[in-house]
Amino acid sequence: METKTGDPLIKFGLLEEVLNLARANSLWPLTFGLACCAIEMMAVGMARFDLARFGAEVFRPSPRQSDLMIVAGTISKKMAPAVVRLYEQMPAPKWVIAMGNCAISGGPFFYENQYAIVPGADLIIPVDVYIPGCPPRPEAIIEAILTLEEKITKRGRLRKFRDVKR
């Protein structure tokens, strides 16, 4: 799925790096709960798992004010045009996290003569990070946000934790 964001008019290396650092550390997700994963997405926003530590706790209801779409749940065929429309109405730069097996590949609801769901969010919108799980645990969602930050800033924020010798 080709990405739908074009390059800006002025592109300095340093300027882009500074902007990316700012963008990565204040991702505003769109409240977009489709099914069961929405509950885990709410749980990650709450006090215990606290997405606020990574700057992503402001869940904006409108796509106009958000730059990260977490597709949390099954995309049914009736819902697909709305998903694409919401993605297009988000201002650039924007990213998409496909949360849960349903958003990755249809998950438990995909089999040969399935008539109701779109097997995977990347068939209709470009996806940046995938979180496996049904539903994924809140820790997995935090790791996805950190992976996305790594992808945006191209700096190893998460790798520091991974390479620690236990």
Binding site: F32, I39, E40, A43, A47, Y111, A116
Partner: protein, 370 residues
């Protein structure tokens, strides 16, 4: 050119699939005259995943995980309803300890569902703090359930004939500590919300459902009990180990939003009482029936098993024609009926009241769309 003086004055608005107050992907097509709603038509189907079609080409064991994903807020009650329906078909009885464990876990799951409803509903009304309180309590239960069942939300724990894993002492002491802790939190919930004058003004005498509307629309659960009809499957059609416990069925009197809210709060207290009694009287013995056939081939026939979930009566209707796959499974879900009354009670209300009514009916969308 803007045509002035257009004849039809109603404004059509989508309270659409992506909206914070619809708790999922429900779309309510509103026709409004200024702030007042003249017609509200819920459009559902955005969360339709085809559970009943899947049931027809899966054998009985393969359909168990689906049960945790129909109503993911009270998944264990759906597991219980489906397992009991199949047990009736194949004639297996669950030993007493297994039934007690099922009741304890289902009631704990009912608490997580009501707590989440409490937080999300007040978030719709604009209060941001309560959701922090109730998610904090909810995480405690999820840890306890996670220890035993292994998952946090979409449980697939009950098996035909009982429960695969026994409770250990750490779980039991954890539950007792949790009960004491949650009971100490009720005053916080009351002071924070029930006595809050804004909350009272927004919910008193709003969205009133009368008794005969309940009968006509087939409402069940707290939405029905808010209107004063004490119909709770655990009491009126006792199943599993519920006859062994004494608990009351809280009912409202006027059927407005405030009564439905009070009913759910008191129900949480009753669930705590049930869990306490179940823990005290937990018999020892087997937790799984002995001879449960591995490949189920139930005899021809049909069965309907009703179970009380957090939102109302879940009825599992299975038609079997002797094969290893069910011929037809119909899931009678409570929110389908509870939501069908919205067009009637939403007329002439303000949009803000519609959001309050929708929250008080506590719908879970993939449960409606199946």
């Amino acid at each position: 050119m803007i045509e002035l003086g257009i004849e039809e004055k109603t404004y059509t608005l989508n309270l659409g699939p992506q909206h914070p107050s619809t708790h999922g992907v429900l779309r309510v097509l509103l026709e409004m005259d200024g702030e007042y709603i003249t017609k509200a038509e819920p459009v559902i189907g955005y969360g339709h995943r085809g559970h009943e079609h899947m049931a027809e080409n899966r054998n009985y064991h393969q359909f168990l995980p689906n049960m945790g994903r129909v109503d993911y807020l009270h998944a264990l009650a759906y597991n219980q309803g489906y397992c009991m329906a199949v047990e009736k078909l194949i004639g297996v009885t669950v030993p007493e300890r297994g039934e007690y464990i099922r009741v304890i876990l289902s009631e704990l799951n009912r608490l997580t569902s009501h707590l989440l409803w409490f937080g999300a509903y007040l978030l719709d009304l604009g209060a941001f703090t309560p959701i922090m309180y109730c998610f904090d309590d909810r995480e405690h239960i999820l840890d306890l359930l996670d220890r035993i069942t292994g998952s946090r939300l979409t449980y697939c724990f009950y098996r035909f004939g009982g429960v695969p894993q026994d409770l250990d002492d750490e779980f039991i002491t954890g539950v007792r500590a949790f009960i004491k802790r949650l009971r100490s939190r009720w005053p916080d919930y009351d002071n924070l919300v029930t006595k809050n004058v804004i909350f009272i003004n927004r919910t008193k005498d709003v969205g009133v459902i009368s008794k005969d509307q309940c009968v006509k629309y087939g409402l069940t659960g707290p939405t029905l009990r808010g209107s004063g009809i004490p119909y709770d499957i655990r009491k009126s059609e006792p199943y599993s180990a519920y006859p062994a416990f004494d608990f009351t069925i809280p009912i409202g009197d006027q059927g407005d939003i405030f009564d439905r809210y009070i009913v759910r709060l008191q129900e949480m207290e009753q669930s705590l009482r049930i869990i306490e009694q179940a823990l005290d009287k937990l018999p020892n013995g087997p937790i799984m029936a002995e001879k449960v056939p591995k490949r189920l081939k139930p005899a021809e026939g049909e069965v309907y098993q009703a179970v009380e979930t957090a939102r109302g009566e879940f009825g599992c209707y299975i038609v079997s024609q002797g094969g290893i796959k069910p011929y037809r499974i119909k899931l009678r879900v409570p929110s389908f009926g509870n939501l069908s009354i919205l067009p009637e009670i939403a007329v002439d209300t303000l949009v803000a009241d519609l959001v309050a009514i929708l929250g008080s009916v506590d719908v879970v969308i993939p449960e409606i769309d199946r």
